[in-house]
Protein backbone atom coordinates (compact mmCIF):
# COMPACT_ATOMS: atom_id res chain seq x y z
CA UNK A 1 0.00 0.00 0.00
CA UNK A 2 1.09 3.52 -0.64
CA UNK A 3 -0.12 6.76 0.80
CA UNK A 4 -2.75 8.41 -1.37
CA UNK A 5 -3.64 11.24 0.95
CA UNK A 6 -1.64 12.96 3.66
CA UNK A 7 -0.79 16.40 4.94
CA UNK A 8 1.14 18.42 2.36
CA UNK A 9 4.67 19.48 3.32
CA UNK A 10 3.86 23.17 2.90
CA UNK A 11 1.32 22.91 5.72
CA UNK A 12 3.04 22.79 9.08
CA UNK A 13 2.09 19.84 11.28
CA UNK A 14 0.35 21.84 13.97
CA UNK A 15 -3.27 21.93 15.22
CA UNK A 16 -5.29 24.66 13.49
CA UNK A 17 -6.96 27.12 15.85
CA UNK A 18 -10.09 27.40 13.71
CA UNK A 19 -13.52 26.38 14.99
CA UNK A 20 -14.76 22.82 14.33
CA UNK A 21 -15.80 22.46 10.70
CA UNK A 22 -14.29 25.77 9.60
CA UNK A 23 -13.33 25.37 5.96
CA UNK A 24 -10.28 27.62 6.29
CA UNK A 25 -8.51 24.35 7.12
CA UNK A 26 -9.49 22.87 3.75
CA UNK A 27 -8.45 26.01 1.86
CA UNK A 28 -5.13 26.18 3.70
CA UNK A 29 -4.49 22.59 2.73
CA UNK A 30 -5.35 23.21 -0.93
CA UNK A 31 -2.91 26.13 -1.11
CA UNK A 32 -0.23 24.00 0.54
CA UNK A 33 -0.89 21.09 -1.83
CA UNK A 34 -0.44 23.45 -4.79
CA UNK A 35 2.82 24.80 -3.35
CA UNK A 36 3.99 21.19 -3.02
CA UNK A 37 2.90 20.18 -6.51
CA UNK A 38 4.52 23.21 -8.14
CA UNK A 39 7.61 22.71 -5.97
CA UNK A 40 7.64 26.35 -4.90
CA UNK A 41 7.39 26.26 -1.11
CA UNK A 42 10.94 27.55 -0.77
CA UNK A 43 10.40 30.24 -3.39
CA UNK A 44 7.13 31.57 -2.03
CA UNK A 45 6.26 34.38 0.35
CA UNK A 46 2.71 34.42 1.68
CA UNK A 47 0.91 37.39 3.14
CA UNK A 48 -1.45 36.81 6.04
CA UNK A 49 -4.18 39.34 6.66
CA UNK A 50 -6.46 40.34 9.54
CA UNK A 51 -9.34 38.19 10.65
CA UNK A 52 -9.48 34.55 11.69
CA UNK A 53 -6.46 33.79 9.51
CA UNK A 54 -4.28 36.53 11.01
CA UNK A 55 -1.78 33.87 12.09
CA UNK A 56 -1.88 31.64 9.04
CA UNK A 57 1.89 32.18 9.13
CA UNK A 58 1.84 29.56 11.86
CA UNK A 59 0.49 27.03 9.37
CA UNK A 60 2.15 27.73 6.03
CA UNK A 61 5.70 26.46 5.79
CA UNK A 62 6.82 29.12 3.31
CA UNK A 63 8.07 32.53 4.43
CA UNK A 64 5.17 34.65 5.62
CA UNK A 65 4.45 38.32 6.27
CA UNK A 66 1.54 39.44 8.40
CA UNK A 67 -0.21 42.53 7.02
CA UNK A 68 -2.50 45.16 8.52
CA UNK A 69 -6.24 44.86 7.87
CA UNK A 70 -6.93 45.08 4.16
CA UNK A 71 -3.36 45.97 3.25
CA UNK A 72 -2.21 42.53 2.14
CA UNK A 73 -2.28 43.39 -1.61
CA UNK A 74 -0.12 46.48 -0.97
CA UNK A 75 2.29 44.48 1.19
CA UNK A 76 2.37 41.76 -1.47
CA UNK A 77 3.09 44.42 -4.10
CA UNK A 78 6.10 45.57 -2.08
CA UNK A 79 7.36 42.02 -1.68
CA UNK A 80 6.78 40.98 -5.29
CA UNK A 81 8.44 44.10 -6.70
CA UNK A 82 11.44 43.40 -4.46
CA UNK A 83 11.68 39.71 -5.28
CA UNK A 84 10.90 39.35 -8.98
CA UNK A 85 11.79 35.67 -9.02
CA UNK A 86 9.59 34.68 -6.09
CA UNK A 87 5.94 33.71 -5.88
CA UNK A 88 3.77 35.84 -3.64
CA UNK A 89 0.24 35.15 -2.46
CA UNK A 90 -2.23 36.85 -0.15
CA UNK A 91 -4.79 35.00 1.92
CA UNK A 92 -7.68 37.30 2.79
CA UNK A 93 -11.21 37.16 4.09
CA UNK A 94 -14.22 39.15 2.95
CA UNK A 95 -14.04 41.88 5.58
CA UNK A 96 -10.35 42.34 4.95
CA UNK A 97 -10.47 42.29 1.16
CA UNK A 98 -13.88 43.69 0.27
CA UNK A 99 -14.37 46.33 2.99
CA UNK A 100 -11.32 47.85 4.63
CA UNK A 101 -9.00 46.73 1.84
CA UNK A 102 -11.12 47.47 -1.22
CA UNK A 103 -8.76 50.15 -2.50
CA UNK A 104 -5.72 47.92 -2.13
CA UNK A 105 -7.21 44.91 -3.93
CA UNK A 106 -8.68 46.96 -6.78
CA UNK A 107 -5.42 48.76 -7.43
CA UNK A 108 -3.20 45.70 -7.08
CA UNK A 109 -5.47 44.08 -9.67
CA UNK A 110 -5.55 47.01 -12.05
CA UNK A 111 -1.77 47.38 -11.86
CA UNK A 112 -1.63 43.75 -12.86
CA UNK A 113 0.60 42.87 -9.93
CA UNK A 114 2.02 39.41 -10.36
CA UNK A 115 0.45 38.10 -7.18
CA UNK A 116 -2.10 35.44 -6.36
CA UNK A 117 -4.96 36.26 -4.01
CA UNK A 118 -6.91 33.60 -2.18
CA UNK A 119 -10.12 35.35 -1.19
CA UNK A 120 -12.23 33.47 1.34
CA UNK A 121 -15.85 34.63 1.24
CA UNK A 122 -18.04 33.35 4.06
CA UNK A 123 -20.42 36.33 4.02
CA UNK A 124 -19.63 37.41 7.58
CA UNK A 125 -16.92 38.80 9.86
CA UNK A 126 -15.62 35.79 11.72
CA UNK A 127 -12.99 36.88 14.21
CA UNK A 128 -14.79 39.98 15.47
CA UNK A 129 -17.85 37.77 16.14
CA UNK A 130 -20.30 37.76 13.32
CA UNK A 131 -20.85 41.29 12.04
CA UNK A 132 -22.14 42.13 8.57
CA UNK A 133 -19.53 41.75 5.85
CA UNK A 134 -19.60 43.48 2.48
CA UNK A 135 -20.54 40.05 1.14
CA UNK A 136 -23.35 39.36 3.65
CA UNK A 137 -26.45 38.32 1.73
CA UNK A 138 -29.63 40.38 1.68
CA UNK A 139 -31.77 39.17 4.55
CA UNK A 140 -28.88 37.49 6.34
CA UNK A 141 -28.87 37.99 10.10
CA UNK A 142 -25.59 39.09 11.66
CA UNK A 143 -24.75 40.80 14.94
CA UNK A 144 -24.89 44.19 13.17
CA UNK A 145 -27.90 43.33 11.01
CA UNK A 146 -29.96 41.73 13.78
CA UNK A 147 -33.14 41.95 11.69
CA UNK A 148 -31.44 40.84 8.49
CA UNK A 149 -29.48 42.80 5.89
CA UNK A 150 -31.80 45.33 4.34
CA UNK A 151 -30.58 46.98 1.12
CA UNK A 152 -32.20 50.29 2.01
CA UNK A 153 -30.22 50.40 5.26
CA UNK A 154 -27.13 48.34 4.58
CA UNK A 155 -26.67 48.30 0.84
CA UNK A 156 -26.01 45.28 -1.33
CA UNK A 157 -23.41 42.51 -1.19
CA UNK A 158 -20.34 42.96 -3.39
CA UNK A 159 -19.45 40.44 -6.09
CA UNK A 160 -15.68 40.64 -6.03
CA UNK A 161 -14.78 38.33 -8.92
CA UNK A 162 -17.22 40.07 -11.26
CA UNK A 163 -15.91 43.49 -10.22
CA UNK A 164 -12.23 42.65 -10.53
CA UNK A 165 -12.69 40.83 -13.83
CA UNK A 166 -13.54 44.17 -15.46
CA UNK A 167 -9.95 45.32 -14.88
CA UNK A 168 -7.35 44.75 -17.57
CA UNK A 169 -4.70 43.96 -14.99
CA UNK A 170 -6.67 40.98 -13.76
CA UNK A 171 -5.48 37.93 -15.70
CA UNK A 172 -7.48 35.33 -13.86
CA UNK A 173 -10.56 35.38 -11.63
CA UNK A 174 -12.54 32.31 -10.64
CA UNK A 175 -15.11 31.65 -7.96
CA UNK A 176 -15.13 28.20 -6.38
CA UNK A 177 -16.61 26.62 -3.27
CA UNK A 178 -15.51 24.04 -0.74
CA UNK A 179 -18.93 22.65 0.15
CA UNK A 180 -18.41 19.16 -1.27
CA UNK A 181 -15.69 16.89 -2.64
CA UNK A 182 -16.11 17.67 -6.37
CA UNK A 183 -16.10 21.41 -5.64
CA UNK A 184 -13.02 21.05 -3.46
CA UNK A 185 -11.21 19.39 -6.35
CA UNK A 186 -12.25 22.25 -8.65
CA UNK A 187 -11.14 24.74 -6.03
CA UNK A 188 -7.71 23.18 -5.95
CA UNK A 189 -7.44 23.28 -9.74
CA UNK A 190 -8.37 26.98 -9.66
CA UNK A 191 -5.81 27.74 -6.96
CA UNK A 192 -3.16 25.92 -8.93
CA UNK A 193 -3.99 27.88 -12.05
CA UNK A 194 -3.88 31.14 -10.10
CA UNK A 195 -0.29 30.33 -9.10
CA UNK A 196 0.61 29.30 -12.65
CA UNK A 197 -0.74 32.61 -13.96
CA UNK A 198 1.71 34.32 -11.63
CA UNK A 199 4.56 32.05 -12.66
CA UNK A 200 3.98 33.02 -16.26
CA UNK A 201 3.77 36.68 -15.20
CA UNK A 202 0.39 37.18 -16.85
CA UNK A 203 -1.00 39.54 -14.24
CA UNK A 204 -3.13 39.55 -11.14
CA UNK A 205 -4.89 36.29 -10.23
CA UNK A 206 -7.68 35.79 -7.71
CA UNK A 207 -9.60 32.75 -6.56
CA UNK A 208 -12.70 33.53 -4.54
CA UNK A 209 -13.59 30.59 -2.34
CA UNK A 210 -17.10 30.37 -0.94
CA UNK A 211 -16.63 29.15 2.58
CA UNK A 212 -18.60 28.69 5.78
CA UNK A 213 -18.61 30.10 9.29
CA UNK A 214 -20.62 27.65 11.41
CA UNK A 215 -19.93 29.53 14.65
CA UNK A 216 -21.18 32.92 13.52
CA UNK A 217 -23.85 31.57 11.20
CA UNK A 218 -25.19 29.67 14.21
CA UNK A 219 -25.40 26.34 12.39
CA UNK A 220 -23.68 23.00 12.52
CA UNK A 221 -20.84 22.55 10.00
CA UNK A 222 -22.95 20.11 7.99
CA UNK A 223 -25.93 22.49 7.93
CA UNK A 224 -23.57 25.33 7.01
CA UNK A 225 -22.40 23.49 3.89
CA UNK A 226 -26.00 23.06 2.86
CA UNK A 227 -26.71 26.76 3.51
CA UNK A 228 -23.73 27.73 1.37
CA UNK A 229 -25.04 25.65 -1.54
CA UNK A 230 -28.63 26.82 -1.17
CA UNK A 231 -28.07 30.53 -0.52
CA UNK A 232 -24.60 31.79 -1.34
CA UNK A 233 -24.23 30.23 -4.77
CA UNK A 234 -27.32 31.98 -6.06
CA UNK A 235 -25.82 35.41 -5.38
CA UNK A 236 -22.26 34.30 -6.02
CA UNK A 237 -22.32 31.97 -9.05
CA UNK A 238 -19.35 29.66 -9.36
CA UNK A 239 -17.26 29.91 -12.47
CA UNK A 240 -14.39 31.50 -14.34
CA UNK A 241 -14.80 35.27 -14.74
CA UNK A 242 -11.47 36.06 -16.35
CA UNK A 243 -8.87 33.81 -17.86
CA UNK A 244 -5.75 34.00 -19.96
CA UNK A 245 -4.05 31.38 -22.05
CA UNK A 246 -1.00 29.91 -20.38
CA UNK A 247 2.06 28.36 -21.96
CA UNK A 248 1.48 25.40 -19.68
CA UNK A 249 -1.96 24.91 -21.32
CA UNK A 250 -0.24 24.10 -24.60
CA UNK A 251 2.02 21.60 -22.88
CA UNK A 252 -0.93 19.47 -21.90
Amino acid sequence: MSIVFERPHALIDRPLHYCPGCTHGIIHRLVAEVLDELGIEGATVGVASVGCTYNSYEYFNCDMVQAAHGRAPAVATGIRRSLPDRTVFTYQGDGDLAAIGTAEIVHAATRGEKITTIFVNNAIYGMTSGQMAPTTLVGQVTTTTPFGRKPELHGYPIRVCEMLSTLEGTAYAERVAVNNVPNIKKAKAAIKRAFQVQQERKGFAIVEVLSICPTNWGMSPEKSLEWLGENMMEHYPLGVYKNVELTSDGAK
Binding site: G42, Y54, N55, D63, Q66, R71, A74, I79, A103, H107
Partner: protein, 358 residues
Protein backbone atom coordinates in the same frame (compact mmCIF):
# COMPACT_ATOMS: atom_id res chain seq x y z
CA UNK B 1 35.12 64.29 -4.35
CA UNK B 2 34.47 67.83 -3.41
CA UNK B 3 32.31 68.75 -6.38
CA UNK B 4 29.31 70.76 -5.32
CA UNK B 5 26.06 70.57 -7.23
CA UNK B 6 23.12 72.96 -6.95
CA UNK B 7 20.02 70.89 -6.26
CA UNK B 8 16.53 71.17 -4.85
CA UNK B 9 16.04 69.63 -1.41
CA UNK B 10 13.42 67.13 -2.53
CA UNK B 11 15.64 65.92 -5.37
CA UNK B 12 18.53 65.56 -2.99
CA UNK B 13 16.36 63.32 -0.80
CA UNK B 14 15.71 61.04 -3.75
CA UNK B 15 19.32 61.08 -4.91
CA UNK B 16 20.53 60.36 -1.38
CA UNK B 17 18.20 57.37 -1.13
CA UNK B 18 19.46 56.00 -4.43
CA UNK B 19 23.07 56.44 -3.30
CA UNK B 20 22.20 54.63 -0.06
CA UNK B 21 21.12 51.62 -2.09
CA UNK B 22 17.38 52.20 -2.08
CA UNK B 23 15.91 50.66 -5.23
CA UNK B 24 12.30 50.51 -4.04
CA UNK B 25 10.30 53.67 -3.62
CA UNK B 26 6.55 53.84 -3.09
CA UNK B 27 4.81 57.19 -2.93
CA UNK B 28 1.76 59.30 -3.47
CA UNK B 29 1.68 62.89 -4.65
CA UNK B 30 1.34 65.61 -2.04
CA UNK B 31 2.73 69.13 -1.90
CA UNK B 32 5.42 70.08 -0.92
CA UNK B 33 7.35 66.81 -1.35
CA UNK B 34 6.17 65.59 -4.73
CA UNK B 35 9.50 66.21 -6.48
CA UNK B 36 10.85 63.20 -4.59
CA UNK B 37 8.41 61.04 -6.55
CA UNK B 38 9.20 62.82 -9.83
CA UNK B 39 12.90 62.15 -9.41
CA UNK B 40 12.35 58.55 -8.35
CA UNK B 41 9.96 57.84 -11.22
CA UNK B 42 12.58 58.87 -13.75
CA UNK B 43 15.62 57.35 -12.08
CA UNK B 44 14.11 54.03 -11.04
CA UNK B 45 13.01 53.34 -14.59
CA UNK B 46 16.50 54.17 -15.85
CA UNK B 47 18.28 51.90 -13.38
CA UNK B 48 15.70 49.11 -13.19
CA UNK B 49 14.50 49.88 -9.69
CA UNK B 50 10.94 50.01 -8.43
CA UNK B 51 8.79 53.11 -8.44
CA UNK B 52 5.13 52.65 -7.66
CA UNK B 53 2.68 55.50 -7.50
CA UNK B 54 0.38 53.94 -4.96
CA UNK B 55 -3.38 54.39 -4.74
CA UNK B 56 -3.02 56.05 -1.33
CA UNK B 57 -0.56 56.93 1.39
CA UNK B 58 -1.87 53.93 3.28
CA UNK B 59 -1.01 51.62 0.41
CA UNK B 60 2.38 53.28 -0.13
CA UNK B 61 3.59 52.69 3.43
CA UNK B 62 2.32 49.12 3.27
CA UNK B 63 4.25 48.54 0.05
CA UNK B 64 7.31 49.78 1.90
CA UNK B 65 6.38 47.37 4.70
CA UNK B 66 6.32 44.53 2.17
CA UNK B 67 9.58 45.51 0.50
CA UNK B 68 11.34 45.90 3.84
CA UNK B 69 9.98 42.47 4.86
CA UNK B 70 11.63 41.05 1.76
CA UNK B 71 14.94 42.51 2.91
CA UNK B 72 15.50 45.42 0.55
CA UNK B 73 16.05 49.10 1.34
CA UNK B 74 12.73 50.83 0.79
CA UNK B 75 11.39 54.32 1.27
CA UNK B 76 8.29 56.45 1.06
CA UNK B 77 7.91 60.18 1.31
CA UNK B 78 5.01 62.44 2.06
CA UNK B 79 3.87 65.58 3.80
CA UNK B 80 1.82 66.00 6.96
CA UNK B 81 -1.74 64.94 5.98
CA UNK B 82 -0.24 62.03 4.06
CA UNK B 83 1.91 61.11 7.03
CA UNK B 84 -1.21 60.96 9.18
CA UNK B 85 -2.48 58.27 6.82
CA UNK B 86 0.81 56.40 6.99
CA UNK B 87 0.77 56.20 10.77
CA UNK B 88 -1.02 52.85 10.73
CA UNK B 89 1.72 51.29 8.63
CA UNK B 90 4.46 52.95 10.68
CA UNK B 91 3.09 51.42 13.88
CA UNK B 92 2.99 48.00 12.20
CA UNK B 93 6.55 48.43 10.92
CA UNK B 94 7.71 49.39 14.41
CA UNK B 95 5.94 46.36 15.86
CA UNK B 96 7.29 44.01 13.20
CA UNK B 97 10.76 45.63 13.51
CA UNK B 98 11.09 46.55 9.87
CA UNK B 99 13.75 48.93 8.58
CA UNK B 100 11.63 51.46 6.73
CA UNK B 101 12.59 55.01 5.84
CA UNK B 102 9.93 57.72 5.80
CA UNK B 103 10.46 61.27 4.63
CA UNK B 104 8.13 63.92 6.03
CA UNK B 105 8.33 67.35 4.42
CA UNK B 106 6.13 69.07 6.93
CA UNK B 107 3.38 71.51 6.00
CA UNK B 108 1.03 73.35 8.31
CA UNK B 109 -2.12 71.86 9.75
CA UNK B 110 -4.38 70.77 11.30
CA UNK B 111 -6.62 69.17 8.71
CA UNK B 112 -5.78 70.00 5.14
CA UNK B 113 -4.22 73.13 6.66
CA UNK B 114 -2.04 74.68 4.02
CA UNK B 115 0.88 73.80 1.80
CA UNK B 116 3.35 76.18 3.43
CA UNK B 117 6.23 75.00 5.62
CA UNK B 118 5.76 74.13 9.28
CA UNK B 119 7.15 72.00 12.10
CA UNK B 120 3.83 70.95 13.56
CA UNK B 121 4.39 67.23 12.87
CA UNK B 122 6.78 67.00 15.82
CA UNK B 123 4.17 65.32 18.01
CA UNK B 124 3.02 62.82 15.38
CA UNK B 125 6.55 61.77 14.45
CA UNK B 126 8.38 62.01 17.77
CA UNK B 127 5.60 61.01 20.14
CA UNK B 128 4.30 58.07 18.16
CA UNK B 129 1.46 59.13 15.89
CA UNK B 130 0.35 55.56 15.45
CA UNK B 131 -0.96 53.26 18.15
CA UNK B 132 1.05 51.37 20.70
CA UNK B 133 4.30 51.68 22.63
CA UNK B 134 6.99 52.45 20.08
CA UNK B 135 9.47 55.03 18.85
CA UNK B 136 10.63 56.16 15.45
CA UNK B 137 14.14 57.43 15.10
CA UNK B 138 13.55 61.01 13.90
CA UNK B 139 16.26 62.99 12.12
CA UNK B 140 15.92 66.72 11.50
CA UNK B 141 18.23 68.28 8.92
CA UNK B 142 18.73 72.05 8.75
CA UNK B 143 19.59 72.28 5.07
CA UNK B 144 20.09 70.44 1.84
CA UNK B 145 23.60 69.13 2.55
CA UNK B 146 22.52 67.70 5.88
CA UNK B 147 19.36 66.37 4.26
CA UNK B 148 21.54 64.23 2.01
CA UNK B 149 23.67 63.02 4.90
CA UNK B 150 20.73 62.21 7.15
CA UNK B 151 18.83 60.34 4.45
CA UNK B 152 21.85 58.07 3.99
CA UNK B 153 22.14 57.73 7.76
CA UNK B 154 18.42 56.94 7.95
CA UNK B 155 18.92 53.80 5.85
CA UNK B 156 21.91 52.77 7.94
CA UNK B 157 20.09 53.31 11.23
CA UNK B 158 16.94 51.58 9.99
CA UNK B 159 18.91 48.46 9.07
CA UNK B 160 21.11 48.60 12.16
CA UNK B 161 18.18 48.69 14.57
CA UNK B 162 15.40 47.17 12.41
CA UNK B 163 13.31 50.24 13.12
CA UNK B 164 11.40 52.93 11.23
CA UNK B 165 13.48 56.05 10.67
CA UNK B 166 11.90 59.38 9.81
CA UNK B 167 13.70 62.26 8.17
CA UNK B 168 11.68 65.35 8.98
CA UNK B 169 12.21 68.52 7.01
CA UNK B 170 9.85 71.32 6.18
CA UNK B 171 8.53 72.79 2.97
CA UNK B 172 11.44 75.24 2.71
CA UNK B 173 13.99 72.50 2.84
CA UNK B 174 12.12 70.46 0.26
CA UNK B 175 11.70 73.33 -2.16
CA UNK B 176 14.91 75.34 -1.81
CA UNK B 177 18.02 74.84 -3.92
CA UNK B 178 21.38 74.70 -2.23
CA UNK B 179 24.80 73.38 -3.01
CA UNK B 180 25.25 69.77 -2.04
CA UNK B 181 28.36 67.64 -2.03
CA UNK B 182 27.77 63.90 -2.25
CA UNK B 183 30.27 61.84 -0.28
CA UNK B 184 28.50 58.56 0.12
CA UNK B 185 31.32 56.04 -0.17
CA UNK B 186 32.22 56.08 3.49
CA UNK B 187 28.68 56.49 4.73
CA UNK B 188 26.86 53.41 3.47
CA UNK B 189 26.72 50.48 5.87
CA UNK B 190 25.54 47.02 4.92
CA UNK B 191 23.69 44.67 7.23
CA UNK B 192 22.80 41.01 6.78
CA UNK B 193 19.10 40.30 7.01
CA UNK B 194 18.71 36.63 7.92
CA UNK B 195 15.23 37.45 9.24
CA UNK B 196 13.86 38.59 5.85
CA UNK B 197 10.88 36.86 4.26
CA UNK B 198 12.45 36.34 0.85
CA UNK B 199 11.89 32.63 0.24
CA UNK B 200 13.51 29.89 2.33
CA UNK B 201 14.77 27.86 -0.63
CA UNK B 202 14.08 24.97 1.79
CA UNK B 203 17.44 25.70 3.38
CA UNK B 204 16.20 27.15 6.65
CA UNK B 205 13.10 27.34 8.82
CA UNK B 206 10.48 29.63 7.35
CA UNK B 207 10.74 33.28 8.34
CA UNK B 208 7.78 35.22 9.64
CA UNK B 209 7.30 38.97 9.82
CA UNK B 210 4.54 39.90 12.23
CA UNK B 211 3.46 42.41 14.84
CA UNK B 212 0.72 40.39 16.49
CA UNK B 213 1.21 38.59 19.80
CA UNK B 214 -2.08 37.43 21.25
CA UNK B 215 -0.85 36.36 24.69
CA UNK B 216 -0.26 39.15 27.20
CA UNK B 217 3.07 37.91 28.49
CA UNK B 218 4.42 37.27 25.01
CA UNK B 219 3.43 40.72 23.79
CA UNK B 220 4.86 42.31 26.92
CA UNK B 221 8.13 40.49 26.32
CA UNK B 222 8.14 41.73 22.73
CA UNK B 223 7.51 45.33 23.78
CA UNK B 224 10.19 45.02 26.46
CA UNK B 225 12.54 43.86 23.72
CA UNK B 226 11.64 46.93 21.66
CA UNK B 227 12.32 49.17 24.64
CA UNK B 228 15.67 47.54 25.26
CA UNK B 229 16.47 48.43 21.64
CA UNK B 230 15.24 52.00 22.19
CA UNK B 231 17.50 52.27 25.25
CA UNK B 232 20.47 51.30 23.08
CA UNK B 233 19.46 53.88 20.49
CA UNK B 234 19.22 56.54 23.20
CA UNK B 235 22.68 55.56 24.41
CA UNK B 236 24.34 55.52 21.02
CA UNK B 237 22.56 57.66 18.49
CA UNK B 238 21.76 61.02 20.09
CA UNK B 239 22.97 63.90 17.96
CA UNK B 240 22.80 67.61 18.60
CA UNK B 241 24.57 70.68 17.35
CA UNK B 242 25.61 72.65 20.47
CA UNK B 243 26.83 76.10 19.47
CA UNK B 244 28.06 79.07 21.51
CA UNK B 245 26.52 77.73 24.73
CA UNK B 246 29.46 78.09 27.16
CA UNK B 247 29.00 81.36 29.00
CA UNK B 248 25.76 82.16 27.18
CA UNK B 249 23.12 84.39 28.77
CA UNK B 250 20.25 82.79 26.90
CA UNK B 251 20.09 79.51 25.00
CA UNK B 252 17.81 78.97 22.06
CA UNK B 253 16.47 75.49 21.32
CA UNK B 254 15.53 75.09 17.68
CA UNK B 255 15.78 72.57 14.86
CA UNK B 256 15.60 72.63 11.08
CA UNK B 257 14.78 75.92 9.43
CA UNK B 258 14.25 77.66 12.79
CA UNK B 259 17.79 76.76 13.81
CA UNK B 260 19.14 78.43 10.65
CA UNK B 261 17.28 81.64 11.41
CA UNK B 262 18.62 81.49 14.97
CA UNK B 263 22.24 81.52 13.82
CA UNK B 264 21.72 85.08 12.58
CA UNK B 265 19.94 86.03 15.79
CA UNK B 266 23.08 84.98 17.68
CA UNK B 267 25.14 87.50 15.68
CA UNK B 268 22.62 90.29 16.17
CA UNK B 269 22.39 89.64 19.92
CA UNK B 270 26.16 89.63 20.26
CA UNK B 271 26.24 93.18 18.88
CA UNK B 272 23.89 94.14 21.70
CA UNK B 273 26.12 92.47 24.27
CA UNK B 274 23.91 89.43 24.79
CA UNK B 275 25.55 86.06 24.36
CA UNK B 276 23.09 83.57 22.87
CA UNK B 277 23.78 79.85 22.55
CA UNK B 278 21.98 77.32 20.34
CA UNK B 279 21.12 73.71 21.02
CA UNK B 280 19.94 72.23 17.75
CA UNK B 281 18.61 68.68 18.11
CA UNK B 282 19.58 66.69 15.02
CA UNK B 283 17.88 63.61 16.42
CA UNK B 284 14.44 64.65 17.66
CA UNK B 285 14.14 61.11 18.95
CA UNK B 286 16.30 60.15 20.70
CA UNK B 287 16.07 63.67 22.12
CA UNK B 288 19.39 65.23 23.21
CA UNK B 289 18.41 65.47 26.87
CA UNK B 290 21.98 65.63 28.14
CA UNK B 291 22.78 68.79 26.17
CA UNK B 292 19.86 70.51 27.87
CA UNK B 293 20.79 69.08 31.27
CA UNK B 294 24.31 70.38 30.82
CA UNK B 295 23.17 73.92 30.07
CA UNK B 296 20.05 73.93 32.24
CA UNK B 297 21.53 76.60 34.51
CA UNK B 298 22.09 79.16 31.74
CA UNK B 299 21.53 82.47 33.62
CA UNK B 300 18.49 83.88 31.83
CA UNK B 301 16.70 80.80 30.61
CA UNK B 302 16.01 78.80 27.48
CA UNK B 303 13.92 79.98 24.53
CA UNK B 304 12.44 77.34 22.25
CA UNK B 305 11.68 78.54 18.73
CA UNK B 306 9.46 76.49 16.46
CA UNK B 307 7.26 76.75 13.39
CA UNK B 308 4.37 75.48 15.49
CA UNK B 309 2.42 76.49 18.56
CA UNK B 310 4.94 74.71 20.76
CA UNK B 311 5.59 70.99 20.43
CA UNK B 312 9.30 70.35 20.95
CA UNK B 313 9.17 72.81 23.82
CA UNK B 314 7.57 70.06 25.91
CA UNK B 315 10.66 67.89 25.51
CA UNK B 316 12.89 70.86 26.29
CA UNK B 317 10.92 71.39 29.51
CA UNK B 318 11.24 67.73 30.42
CA UNK B 319 14.99 67.81 29.81
CA UNK B 320 15.44 71.02 31.80
CA UNK B 321 13.42 69.42 34.55
CA UNK B 322 12.23 72.60 36.28
CA UNK B 323 15.76 73.89 36.84
CA UNK B 324 15.23 76.96 34.70
CA UNK B 325 12.64 78.98 32.85
CA UNK B 326 11.70 77.64 29.43
CA UNK B 327 10.16 80.21 27.09
CA UNK B 328 8.54 79.72 23.72
CA UNK B 329 8.28 81.67 20.53
CA UNK B 330 6.62 80.23 17.47
CA UNK B 331 4.75 81.06 14.29
CA UNK B 332 2.35 78.85 12.43
CA UNK B 333 0.15 78.79 9.34
CA UNK B 334 3.20 78.62 7.12
CA UNK B 335 4.98 81.58 8.68
CA UNK B 336 8.58 81.37 9.82
CA UNK B 337 9.76 83.17 12.96
CA UNK B 338 11.58 86.27 11.72
CA UNK B 339 15.11 87.07 12.83
CA UNK B 340 14.05 90.40 14.39
CA UNK B 341 11.13 88.85 16.25
CA UNK B 342 13.27 86.11 17.75
CA UNK B 343 15.82 88.75 18.69
CA UNK B 344 13.09 90.78 20.43
CA UNK B 345 12.17 87.70 22.49
CA UNK B 346 15.81 87.10 23.36
CA UNK B 347 16.25 90.70 24.49
CA UNK B 348 13.14 90.52 26.70
CA UNK B 349 14.36 87.32 28.33
CA UNK B 350 17.91 88.64 28.77
CA UNK B 351 16.58 91.77 30.48
CA UNK B 352 14.29 89.76 32.74
CA UNK B 353 11.20 91.24 31.10
CA UNK B 354 9.59 87.85 30.64
CA UNK B 355 8.26 86.12 27.55
CA UNK B 356 5.95 83.23 26.85
CA UNK B 357 6.89 81.12 29.85
CA UNK B 358 5.95 77.47 29.38
Amino acid sequence: MGEKILMKGNEVIAEAALRAGCRHYFGYPITPQTEVAHYMARKMEEIGGTFVQAESEVAAINMVYGAASAGVRAMTSSSSPGISLKQEGISYAAGAELPVVIIDIVRCGPGLGGILPAQCDYFQMVKGGGHGDYHNIVLAPQGVQEMYELVVDAFNLADKYRNPVVVMGDGYMGQMMEAVEFRDVERIERYDKPWAACGSEMKREHNTITSIYIEADVLEAHVNHLYEKYRLIEENEVRADVFNCDGADVIIAAYGTCARVTKNVIKDAAKMGIKVGLIRPVTLWPFPKKAFEQYASVPKGILTVEMSMGQMVEDVKLAVGGRNNVYFYGRTGGNVPAQKDILAEVVKIARGEGGDLR
